[in-house]
């Protein structure tokens, strides 16, 4: 069920250059939310910013819900100014979710930049529910600057994961992109039983699509678009897909990569 409520901010702190984590006391109402779903957050009650902003759910933990966000403009800047114990208006959980694999699969999680937020929630879900083949989960996480490798310590501690960190500046992890890394890994695999879950920028999906096509690997991705209502009513977020017009907020944000049209 979708809930709109004012939640208390338990923590809102900088975790890297321009990146923040906000923990909300969502009093368990989001405990049934699934990985890939998002919340639509109202920065404040004035008209600046006016519209809500969408953020993937990053964590559900003992009744609290967290998001990870990067300050890129007015709306996210406004979020970053909130103090602990203030209240904030949240609408969610919204949208569809990643579909869990049937049977044993070789899982690849690919996160570019802030895409680590939904992917991290998905990893938590896999580990908690013991989904898939727990000893064969590869996580590929890439960022531009090494400072942006948030959550790397948590990821490193997780014994189920085969972790690959990539940076464009090469200061930490390997120098390169997520997709280069993915291609190198997939070349060595028997790729008949692989499955990709990805979140990140559109340029990453474009490159991913080529490789998935070549090796015949199915991939689910979370797609972003500008949004109005977030609940499927205003048709502001509609995109064309191979299966017709889809509302990113309601029919998405998770799509099969084959469905999307890249122009």
């Amino acid at each position: 069920m979708i809930v709109q409520k004012q939640f208390k901010i338990l923590d809102n702190k900088k975790v890297a250059d321009n990146i923040y984590k906000m923990v909300l006391d969502s009093s368990s109402v989001y405990n049934k939310a699934l990985p890939g779903q998002f919340v639509h957050v109202r920065g404040n009650n004035s008209y600046k910013p006016l519209l809500r902003r969408p953020f993937s759910i990053y964590k559900i933990d003992s009744g609290n819900m967290s998001i990870l966000y990067k300050v890129v403009g007015e709306g996210t800047f406004c979020l970053s100014q909130h103090k602990n114990n203030e209240k904030i208006d949240v609408l969610g959980p919204l949208g569809n979710h990643f579909v869990m694999p049937e049977g044993k699969k070789k899982i690849f999680f690919i996160a570019g930049g802030m895409g680590i937020a939904p992917i991290s929630f998905l990893i938590d879900f896999f580990v908690e529910k013991k989904v898939g083949m727990m000893d064969n989960i590869k996580v590929i996480f890439g960022v531009r600057k090494s400072e942006e490798l948030i959550l790397k310590d948590d990821l490193k501690k997780n014994k189920y994961l085969d972790l690959h960190l990539l940076t464009e500046d090469g200061k930490e992890g390997k120098k390169g992109t997520t997709i280069e890394c993915f291609e190198n890994l997939i070349k060595k695999e028997d790729n008949s039983n692989c499955l990709v879950y990805a979140a990140g920028p559109i340029a990453m999906f474009r490159a991913l699509k080529k490789i998935c096509d070549f090796y015949g690997i199915p991939a689910q991705v979370t797609y972003e678009n500008f949004m109005g209502c977030g609940i499927g009513a205003c048709l502001g977020c509609v995109i064309n897909t191979k299966n017709g017009q889809k509302r990113v907020c309601k029919d998405g944000p998770v799509f099969h990569i084959d469905e999307l049209i890249w122009e």
Partner: protein, 317 residues
């Protein structure tokens, strides 16, 4: 505390009774399905549906919505499933809702309006028709609102407005409400055409033609280049139109433009509106309309006003 009176909020537009004067405006509430999950939509004064055209319409390219200071520019482009699908798949659920159902209709020529009205005539549960003569965000094709001869909106031309409204009037006894464009030199003359053509009320107003440019790429922000501005930024502009038209034209007015709280709603009613429609406000705060209804009732009670009707046009000049 003033007296409690169940009828305090009741009003009407021609034959159409409204349990309160707060409606939700076209295109911001879909067909009510999504909002049902969030609050009791039976409490609304009325629901104006997304505009329906004769044939299904795909609408405009993405991005379709963006924010400007205190405003929103949208270029949805009247995406809708067409009148037949609407009747089959949307109406059955809509008519279950215990409130006035106003179907917004759009078309590019008179024949299209006539055909939609004919098809809707057989359908039960419709209380009124809003005639959308004023969608501003379509430039690439000749569709709703744009005439064949020029790039004018129907609601920018007094004769075209008269022609469309009269055509609809001839085919239905239902309450008909043309929706006007604010992009006009003289709205009173357009409103007079509506009156002459037999309209029961007028809806003031649609969005203001607008655009925005990304200076990094030098590209327009919206896929369609232009769109319509709505939200708090437009409220004072539309308020002035409502006042102006209500001074001269003897038709009830449904006002929509930047209503974000009960004070905005009351301003429109005091300026001369019979009812208001919340638009962009729903997108930001889905429960806003019911909040406004509660607050208006409180205001009336606190000020010993026994009916919302007493406030209509109560401006002291």
């Amino acid at each position: 505390m003033g007296m409690m009176n169940n009828d305090i909020l009741k009003t009407n537009i021609a034959e159409m009774g409204l349990k309160n004067p707060v409606l939700v405006s076209s295109g911001t509430f879909g067909y009510a399905e999504e909002y049902k999950e969030l609050f009791d939509v039976n409490k609304l004064g009325g629901i104006i549906t997304k505009t329906i055209t004769l044939k299904p319409k795909k609408g405009n390219a993405s991005p379709r919505i963006m924010e400007t200071p205190c405003g929103v520019i949208n270029s949805i482009g009247l995406q809708n499933p067409g009148v037949d699908d609407f009747i089959k798949n949307k109406m059955p659920k809509l008519k279950e809702i215990d409130t006035a159902i106003i179907v917004s209709i759009g078309g590019s020529d008179t024949e299209e309006f006539e055909e939609i009205v004919r098809r809707l005539e057989k359908v039960r549960g419709i209380d009124g028709l809003e005639i959308n003569l004023s969608c501003p965000n379509i430039i690439s094709e000749l569709v709703t609102g744009f005439t064949e001869e020029s790039n004018l909106l129907i609601a920018q031309d007094a004769y075209l407005t008269f022609e469309k409204v009269r055509a609809v009037r001839k085919l239905t006894k239902r309450t008909i409400i043309p929706k006007l464009s604010p992009n006009v030199t003289d709205m009173v003359s357009i409103a007079r055409s509506c009156y002459d053509a037999g309209a029961d009320a007028i809806s003031i107003a649609n969005t203001y033609s607008a655009m925005a440019i990304d200076i990094k790429t030098r590209k327009p922000f919206l896929g369609n280049i232009i769109g319509g501005l709505s939200g708090p930024a437009i409220k004072p502009l539309t308020l002035k139109f409502v006042w102006e038209v209500s001074q001269t034209i003897d038709l009830p007015i449904i006002a929509s433009g930047g209503i974000m709280n009960y004070k905005d709603a009351l301003e429109f009613i005091i300026a001369g509106a019979r009812a208001v429609a919340v638009g962009t406000g729903n997108i930001i705060d889905p429960k806003l309309s019911v909040e406004i209804i509660k607050e208006i009732e409180k205001y009336l009670n606190e000020n010993n006003i026994s009916s919302i009707k007493d406030l209509e046009g109560a401006i002291e000049t």
